[in-house]
């Protein structure tokens, strides 16, 4: 499954004015929250399919992210591959999807599981683009998945409900938080993870010849600024229902909203 490393989700994030990139130093690096659900989904599937199923963590990240990747191994994944190279720095959605697809192709897979959205990028574009590059069915926003007889059946969230969709393997699926709470790493899992392999793959290993990273990216950040500040609320204490309602109603009239 593919896992992105992101700055601590609860930390205040900022962009470095000089590099125009997200500041990733001084902030803890964590597994993208959605991707913990992807790991959970992969482990559930392995439990169901039994021995002979291998769960590999696939992450495009700098070498410094190794210990964070190990957290995914501690949860129960079998091994990991890190697609790492200085030339990948400054990648955008396109670079990332292209590079991951080449890396996954080289490594081989039956099913790729992604998170639905990254906490820092929040584009949700990577999984669909990987599927397209791999030329396999790609099911996004799955809340439930099942594999039987070489077919993947997915219940996926839609804007006003859900749908059931199926297709042949190999395939890709991105999961939502409804697949089940990610398990905690047990002490045994943490100890065991120290012995598991984290292989490093370079773009050359993956057969990538063209420049990626900032020079290959198809988008460029020109400017950034804080949004217009919101001031603190006007606070009204309501003695009872009618006075509370009246305070809101008057406010809405004042703002021409009622």
């Amino acid at each position: 499954m593919t896992v992105k490393l992101v700055p601590d989700v609860n930390a205040e994030k900022r962009i470095d004015p000089a590099t125009r990139r997200l500041v990733r130093t001084g902030v803890d690096t964590v597994l993208n929250p959605y991707d913990e659900y992807a790991i959970e989904a992969a482990l559930q599937l392995k439990e169901k399919l039994g021995e002979g199923t291998t769960v590999t963590v696939f992450s495009m990240a700098p070498e410094s992210g190794k210990e964070t990747v190990r957290k995914a191994l501690a949860m129960g994944a079998d091994d990991a591959v890190m697609l790492t190279d200085a030339g990948l720095e400054g990648s955008d959605v396109w670079d990332t999807a292209f590079a991951l697809a080449q890396g996954l192709k080289k490594h081989g897979f039956d099913l790729v599981i992604c998170g639905s959205l990254s906490d820092d990028g929040s584009t949700g574009g990577v999984p669909g683009a990987i599927a397209e590059y791999l030329g396999v069915p790609g099911f996004t926003n799955a809340r439930h998945l099942d594999v039987a007889d070489g077919r993947l059946r997915v219940q996926r969230e839609t804007d006003n409900g859900y749908q059931t969709v199926s297709g042949p393997l190999p395939a890709l699926v991105s999961v939502t938080m409804a697949v089940g709470e990610p398990r905690y790493a047990s002490l045994k899992g943490i100890m065991g993870a120290k012995k598991k392999t984290i292989a490093v793959q370079t773009p050359a290993d993956a057969g990538i010849a063209q420049p990626l990273g900032a020079s290959g990216a198809k988008t460029e950040l020109l400017e950034f600024a804080p949004p217009p500040a919101r001031s603190k609320a006007r606070v009204v204490t309501a003695e009872d229902g009618p006075s509370g309602a009246a305070a809101i109603f008057e406010f809405l009239k004042e703002k021409k909203l009622a």
């Binding site: 990216a217 020109l222 009872d240 509370g244």
Partner: protein, 327 residues
């Protein structure tokens, strides 16, 4: 990039306001870029919607009622959009920032080697170049981006970003079925859980409930009537969705939907950062909470400290009375 292509989301010919917002904006952008404004409408109901879109200032509305579009997930749609894009030449492709829009965008990035910008609140042309304005890092930063190294740029746009204005005489053209394609992602069943008349993401008013509601009933007995009275939609926090009180499709926030209504009423919601990022760009935020020290006070416009169960019914009544007095 010269032309502009709008990929239209609809169900059996019924679409959302955002389609007309994008069609209207496409004209302006296409004029500034010196190209044409296209729309692509696919699947059951496409012909009827195509006729409706004729009233908007587009040049060409490409339609196909091909049943494969609804029978199979996303792939047929991408083949049609790909064909339109290739014939239009370098272009900017716009779609709504919804699950459908993001799915289409993801696929197109690879199909067209395209640049991608998600969740835009504005798209402009400056000096002949496309500029995309989008909140990033959960709304902590407003970014302006450009495309480079690509012939195609894809942007998913937040509903309510632009005004919709009819006017124009687009030509409707029938699309030819892409040849030699087989599809594998079979749609077996479709279930609608929240068949709200107004889509949450494009509603001008959102009445949102959290853990303070204590159960599923108040969403239908308290929030829905107020939303109806104000012409809005009902939303929720993750806490409410996790508790099973409402479907996840109503969840607003980091892992749910992003909304930018004119008015957001947060009822029994604390205002956690993960919720805030999905609604902080609302025009006006009103909170009802029994706790005066609640975090939402930091970014709401009005906080009424009191019991929601007493306040909401009264407020709904006031809105109804005011309406009755006006007719």
């Amino acid at each position: 990039m010269q032309s502009v292509i709008v990929v239209v989301e609809h169900k059996k010919g019924h679409t959302r306001k955002v389609t007309f917002e994008l069609a209207t904006r496409a004209r302006k952008l296409a004029d500034a870029l010196g190209g044409k404004a296209h729309a692509v409408v696919l699947g059951a109901g496409a012909a009827a919607l195509g006729e409706q879109l004729k009233q908007y200032p587009l040049d060409l509305v490409h339609v196909s009622e091909d049943a494969d579009v609804d029978r199979y997930l996303v792939d047929p749609t991408i083949d049609y959009v790909d064909a339109v894009a290739k014939s239009a030449g370098p272009s900017l492709i716009l779609t709504a920032n919804t699950m459908f829009g993001r799915d289409v965008a993801g696929r197109l990035i690879a199909r067209l080697s395209a640049g991608y910008n998600a969740d835009a609140t504005d798209v402009r042309v400056e000096g002949g170049q496309v500029r995309v304005i989008a909140p990033k890092l959960g709304g902590a930063t407003m970014t302006t981006s450009a495309f480079k190294n690509c012939d195609y740029g894809v942007v998913t746009v937040r509903p309510n970003a632009f005004a919709a204005a009819p006017g124009g005489a687009a030509q409707v053209v029938e699309l030819a079925k892409p040849a030699g394609k087989t599809y594998t992602m079979v749609v077996e069943e479709e279930v609608e859980e929240a068949s709200g008349e107004i889509g949450l993401e494009e509603a001008a008013v959102v009445i949102s409930g959290g853990r303070g509601l204590g159960g599923p009933e108040p969403f239908t007995t308290l929030l829905k009537p107020l939303a109806d009275a104000l012409g809005g939609a009902v939303g929720a926090t993750r806490a409410a969705a996790d508790a099973g009180w409402v479907p996840y499709s109503l969840q607003i926030g980091q892992t749910g939907k992003t909304v930018s209504p004119q008015l957001y009423v947060a009822v029994g919601i604390s205002g956690a950062i993960q919720h805030k990022v999905g609604m902080r760009t609302a025009g006006t935020i009103v909170a009802i909470n029994k706790d005066p020290g609640v975090p939402i006070a930091e970014f709401a416009d009005l906080l009424v400290v009191g019991d929601l169960f007493k306040i909401i019914p009264e407020l709904t009544k006031m809105v109804h009375d005011a309406k009755a007095a006006h007719v």
